[in-house]
Amino acid sequence: MTKNKMTTPILKNLRILDFTWVLAGPYATRLLADFGAEVIKIQPLIPQEEDTFSRGYYNTWNRNKLGITLDLNKPQGVALAKKLVEISDAVVENFTPRVMANWGFDYEKLKEIKPDIIMLSLSTMGNSGPWRDYSGFGPTVQAFSGLTHLTAYPGRPPSGLGNAYADHVAALLACLALLGALEYRLKTGQGQYIDVSQVEAMAGLLGDAFVPGEEAVFQGVYRCKGDDRWCAISVFNDDEWLGFKKALGSPPWAEDERFATPSGRIKNKQALDGLVEGWTKKQSAEEVMALLQHQGVAAGAVQDAADLARDSQLKKRGFFVELGGTISDAVPIRLSATPARYNREAPAPGQDNDYVYRKLLGMSQEELAELKGQGVV
């Protein structure tokens, strides 16, 4: 092993009590776990019957975490959770705001248990305002934020993105905020409350819609040979336009005066698109990409999941992580001195009960057995 690999993970001394579910919350805590945080995931006692997809979904977003069972609907369960708060640095949750409060786990209460605790809440609308109790999933957030409305073909109804993109966005911004709060705690010794409205987090990435600007790049998605195969192409400037023409074998139409300047290419996009597609559809998306990239033009095949799984660039950079026969995506932050580490598959329910309840909380075997008997853990 190189010295590099022996480096202590950055977040090694960070313990997170993880109340999250679905995607946004688990994605946030997964990133922190990948960089060494000890994430203790609270799991329901009776595992729900799950199909292959749900199992895969859970495995994917919960690697590197510890799992404990705990019934928060029993008073002994709530008491136990309080003990866990006492030994944690941060609490992360993504329920609608009333849920944690109902258990007595709003920030004010957590602060009484652990004065420097950092609490991170991710909810659809945030923890205040007339719509605070609105519930939602990725598509709800994307619709409310403006993203769905803005992602439409000209003159067609809104189409949106086809995946819960906003969950990833809110999770990552929440991570950034949480790391900020850690830095702040290091300086001042004080914890704080982080309230993330997923709708607000997503709306912040729609800046172009609030500040009028003009399209300055000739670009598009062009049909290629094969069923549902496409290549995306961007031409930023005149140098790239020269390369573009070369890649296409210098067709006479490319010398049309209408296409000679960047503004001309944008103004006459429709005509130009038709001519470009006349060329792309005769070859594969990968050939189009290679020919254009060789001439210094940004081009990329429109890849589906199967293409991604065999993408040579992703592969070479180790983007796909294998753990116990399952595959998931790496955290796309490559740190030279302290890289992310992938040590454990997602935990089975209660897998780490002994470690957490006995070693961390110092409970005896008898106490734990009693709680088990009462159906608390």
């Binding site: 939602g136 995946n163 999941a305 991604l308 932050i333």
Partner: protein, 382 residues
Amino acid sequence: MNGGSVLSGYRVLDLTDDKGRLCPRYLADMGAEVIRIEEPGKDSGFHWQDLGKRSITLNIELEPGREILKRLVKTADVLVESHPPGYLEALGLGYSLLSKINPRLVVASVTGFGQSGPYRDYKSSDIVASALGGQLYLSGEPDWPPLKPFGDQSYYLASILAAIGVLLALLRRHTSGRGQHVDVSLQECVAAALDHALVRYFYQGEVAKRQGGLHWNNAFNVFPAKDGYVLLSLFYQWHTLVEWLDSEGMAEDLTDEKWRDRDYRLQHIDHVIDVLGRWAKSHDVAGLVVKGQSMRFPWAEVASIPGLLASPQLEERGFWVEVEDSDKGKKYRFPGAPCSLSRSPWKVGNKAPGTGEHNREIYQELGLSEKEVEALIKEGVI
């Protein structure tokens, strides 16, 4: 009770183009002093990603410009850049050299494909990253070309991830005393934000396809209502939903026993959508959403920007900031902080700097005399 900001006292040098431009803005939001470095003689115009930054001009392709950058690096904690891999090395400004000048420096690089691999030197753009990262294929209607998500989303994702990398590296620096290099690839950032797509492929061998406003698992659909578009769920609280439609005489045959079976509904989803579509069309968006949400349906207005700006929720939470484009003398209502921190506020600045606006202060602080500055301007260095 607030007590200063997270990154006060940190200096960040911003050498990005649009790919990484939002990363230093987040650091500015959190209180860092961000100095954007622009090419002399070019007005880069107003960018919302530059809010709260300072700006100087400096040509790092000229030797005196490189020397000045090295002096700046000695004063900095972080440098964020998005040049093609190898560009800064060729100028003698690569990470290994910069870290010799300032071992505590954290450098973040945002590029199309990262600092390694067979595509490292390929060109990229937002639409190309979206294509190669797998987002584009998932978006749009089935018989139409893939649809680019609004905005340069791959650039924004990469910027957030780079900012996370910077904070991680700064946290480590407290104990190690050393900075490190953060390598972020647009393609990877997109591929790491695909929700269901890779899970379905690796666990079920299924290749996810786009299906317009119908969510991938048929759980939601976008419907035209009387006065706009509304997002309705198709499965949640089925019984309650059918009762509601029925109370208005619009449930059609959905009251039949057979529709209670979830699998049956999934197999005949088109019919469910037709019936719900007729119902939605006879209602206002707000009426559906307010009543639906009060009954715990995860429904939403498909908000336009004017709709969003009029939202009582965002208003009440004080989400908006007023942003000034001093070039055009215009003011805009603009999205504020994405996260509310109770002690160390995340604050979006309300002004972007003019190109080179802070040349005098910053060069003076570096110890350059007025005369030296004049000479450097003449030589095209500043």
